[in-house]
Amino acid sequence: MHLGHALYVWLAVGALVGVTVLTRSFFLLPDGEPKLPGWLWRGLRHAPVAALLAMVVPDVFLSNGRLLSDWHDARLFAVGAALAYYLVRRNDVAGTILVGTGTLMLLRLGFGWP
């Protein structure tokens, strides 16, 4: 490997480690309480679940950047089955993931759905 390229790759990996450490501990870094306006502190209680769902929703409804045009998609049924299970058996995270995964695998490997 070219020396400059090797340096670049290692710098990139080091930068990614730094990003992980600094973002995860961002508001834990200062010893004093960080000063944010009160409405923002209160509003931030809405942020965690929104951040998680923002990672989920596009992956469910988009295929190669386009909205799904065919409902024959294992992902939709996996999410539907997981939601239905969650509504019946509240707070069972493990069961919800297993039901969704089982549905996904059945439709993809058993029926050859996308």
Binding site: L16, R24, L28, H46, A50, M55, V57, L98, L109
Partner: protein, 246 residues
């Protein structure tokens, strides 16, 4: 070292050990998602054409599936470092948000401890922890139960990630793409998010955030997640004023 004996005392505390075991059990379901994402990240890294030493360092230290998966093609293509860093920052923004909550539990621990705990706290750790301990301790110093529970969750999740990503790196050719493992990770995030929809205002802001994330999905560098979080804070503030929960 001062930390040594204090740490030993904590581990010998039956309440700590009980909470640790509880954390280990509670993360088992979500660990399926961590295993799946670890495998996916491992396979992607093995097939990226980047050297094995780099891959192992990345897998063992970066410990963040979304930024690894997004940044690996950038590194392989020789993208400028600032683009790589900016992409990783945006994809890790949710951890900045989580760190606001962690501060209420661990804010009065020493800085090195705070950083280590936060480093270990991936998505499933955060989601399971706040579900079990919705009320932070009064003094910003986690109780032995909370510390043990956190480490039970975090170390199990950490181990699952590393086992899976190493397996993915070394068994890359044996894992068929048809399994669609990545979507198991998505299902796990969904299952972790559902219990966080605790009241009407949060459900309202989450719905708005999901819609915005979908509508802005074509934005570069994962900026749609930033748009979704901003939407949730604004919509949630409005909803809280309207319904004044709790």
């Amino acid at each position: 070292m001062k930390a040594g004996p204090a740490w030993r005392a904590a581990v010998d505390d039956p309440a700590w050990r009980h909470a640790f075991a509880q954390g280990r059990r509670d993360i088992a379901g979500a660990a399926i998602g961590t295993l799946a994402m670890g495998l996916v990240a491992g396979v992607a890294m093995a097939k990226s054409g980047v050297g094995l030493g780099v891959i192992l360092a990345m897998s063992l230290l970066v410990f963040a599936s979304a930024s690894q998966l997004a940044c690996l093609p950038l590194i392989a293509a020789g993208a400028p470092l600032w683009v790589i860093v900016a992409t990783a920052c945006v994809l890790n923004l949710r951890f900045v948000v989580f760190s606001v909550s962690w501060r209420r539990y661990f804010g009065h621990h020493r800085r090195s401890q705070r950083m280590l705990l936060a480093y270990l706290a991936g998505d499933p750790v955060y989601a399971q922890f706040v579900q079990r301990h919705p009320q932070p301790p009064a003094a910003g110093q986690a109780t032995p139960q909370q510390q043990g529970y956190f480490l039970g969750l975090a170390l199990t999740n950490w181990a699952a990630w590393h086992i899976a990503s190493l397996a993915g790196i070394f068994l890359a050719d044996a894992i068929p793409a048809a399994w669609g493992l990545r979507f198991i990770g998505v299902l796990a995030l969904l299952a972790l998010a559902l219990p966080m929809l605790t009241d009407r205002a949060v459900r309202c802001s989450a719905l708005a955030a999901g819609a915005v994330a979908l509508a802005t999905a074509s934005w570069p560098m994962g900026l749609n997640v930033v748009a979704a979080i901003a939407t949730a804070v604004v919509a949630g503030t409005w909803a809280d004023r309207r319904w004044s929960p709790r």
